[in-house]
Symmetry: C2
Subunit: 422 residues, 2 copies
Amino acid sequence: MVEIRKPISVGEAVHRVINFAKQGESELVPIYNAYHRYLAEDLVATHHVPPFDRSPYDGFAIRAEDSTLANIDNSVEFEVIEEIGAGAVAGKVVLPFQAVRIMTGAQMPKECNAVVMLELAKETERDGKKYISIKRAYKPGDNISFEGEDTQKGTVLVEKGTKINPGIQALLATFGYAEVKVAKKPKIGVFATGTELLDVADTLEPGKIRNSNSYMVCAQIERRGADASYLGMLPDDFEYCYDKVANALQEVDMLITTGGVSVGDYDYLPDIYERLGANVLFNKVAMRPGSVTTVAELNGKLLFGLSGNPSACYVGFELFTRPVIQTYLFNTKPHLQKVQAMLNANYPKPNPFTRFVRSRLDFTNGQLSVAPSGFDKSNAVSSLATANALMMLPGGTRGFEKGRQVDVLLLEVDEGSEWPWG
Amino acid sequence: MVEIRKPISVGEAVHRVINFAKQGESELVPIYNAYHRYLAEDLVATHHVPPFDRSPYDGFAIRAEDSTLANIDNSVEFEVIEEIGAGAVAGKVVLPFQAVRIMTGAQMPKECNAVVMLELAKETERDGKKYISIKRAYKPGDNISFEGEDTQKGTVLVEKGTKINPGIQALLATFGYAEVKVAKKPKIGVFATGTELLDVADTLEPGKIRNSNSYMVCAQIERRGADASYLGMLPDDFEYCYDKVANALQEVDMLITTGGVSVGDYDYLPDIYERLGANVLFNKVAMRPGSVTTVAELNGKLLFGLSGNPSACYVGFELFTRPVIQTYLFNTKPHLQKVQAMLNANYPKPNPFTRFVRSRLDFTNGQLSVAPSGFDKSNAVSSLATANALMMLPGGTRGFEKGRQVDVLLLEVDEGSEWPWG
């Protein structure tokens, strides 16, 4: 009467899912729409940086060899023959004991090899000509930013699959990427199931609760750089639901359902997978919350059957859907980033399965420490609001004591892990 | 000839700016557009969670007192009189030695006070009636999620000024916030100045570089939850620029310019501030990079004159513009989050001013460690791409040795500091 499901380890479950993860396609977008997208090709320096020898200061370009005799007791004078603003280039040949007024960032005249900072030059005028005098000697190369000293042409500066941050935007602009090749966002459909569910705008009724999972999962999808498409709530009608799911699969790159994957009489997702002819990768994982999480595959498309309870749903998404999305976006570290932290509270509850505890990670005195972010039952929703991490406590017969090191998965950090599952 | 500017400390400079920061307005958005906006009012629980006593498992609701005599040698039998799906409510009164089949999440019949998990009940049928028998006793409250045990009605769950994450989306939906009161995004105008600047689509020319700051700053603005409005490059024409700046100020909540704030002959922003009658809060900060950063105020609007070199521009934005945007969005911890970390490389360069070094923060073995993210000159752009933090090294006559603790400001983390400046 009750189907007996055999639980598999989290690592094994993730392994079965990631086997079906595939990289997506790329598209060109204007640079002003590129922020927060994922690079679909390496970002390569298209020229040296700086692209020419330039002055990092306002001052005067000179030939260093002319300054050899300058010292505190002996001024050396230079005639200022020209002025170069940023963006301009020298028009005259600089002869011995001549100087050129030069602005920050401007290209060095080719005869010059040192810059005297503005505040170290004494300026004078005589017979309609300008002069400076200096009281120290300069070596060739003093106060010059050399062509290519920051970056050599052809260097791979940022790898394909990296999320574009403000610094990467600066690089794209510097190297003339007016259009940027980024990963197409996968489209992910979301259905909610559950006869107890009201819509967010509905008044509460006896026995019912509002559908919160869909809004949460859509935000999780967006957080990971994909497009969420909320497809509504599925009613308690098998034929109708079957048609909805089958049709949705034609329109999306992946499909998420929340609820309906337990072994209860109203849980009809397993029957839908069967009718579709989908390959069920697993339907029981040795973890809490979310042990009923089910993932199936049909013609290369993944169907994520997440639990109906909010925390289990949240965890199931982060463990199984996240890495598939990130792989689609060319990220080669697609999983949640795993770090170690000191447990900052007793966690007395033992569990035979791996437990993922909604937690807050803090940085105090240079140390990572972590504690549960609130009431810890798998139906507790409030602890998700303040969680920035999931503690990962191995299964066993005892709880965990304050002060011990535990593994922690980071939720709000873009940078991932290659494989955090032992 | 050269204007002498008196540098002030970073803390003093931030203080002068934040004095003019003000909170913005709020607007209602549909919940499906609320992700990543900032709450403009506290998120309050509008009902208990759970809203009623409910079963956390599939099983049978019973009256615990009827199970007193059950043990491994003595089964006790209950007649199953009804079945309650999730979202349904009991229709019958449960009498002694009667049970109700109940699904996960369903409301408890009011006479029942314990739930027998499905797998611990032996089901039978006799004379068209259903029965279960159990072999252990239950206490009142066993396997029940009680009304309000997660959250009490009226509790403030998330404070105004918090950025909405997926967990907060779940809470908003749970409590019926079909429309969410969020902070309006401030509109921030961005002008680039610099006669050396080419547009991103232009071919490189001698002496010139492409404008990268505008794209970078626009991404920084978006990262902090505001609307960026790129207004173009200002040419080298004072009257024209004055008009452009004066007109832009009518259209935006804050204005950023990049470049033009040094003491060079082509730096005309100071003259524009003077003509506008703006109150210059400072024009020299004891920091590297970005010492020429200038901030002015006119009729309550802030004008950020950021440096023209990319790293200095980046740092100036994060120190001065970020907290003003975050304050506008009701965040009471508007500054970059400050943490301590172990310096993981020698940093031999001394500096009389506070130095902000583009860095990578890493979490190894539960410890925060930090190292420069690349070539460190203020015109180096490549190091910004991989930086997730700024090391903050105090001014002094010596460098810093590997292994010492240093202050670090986090760039990619939403959570801020109330006041990181000593």
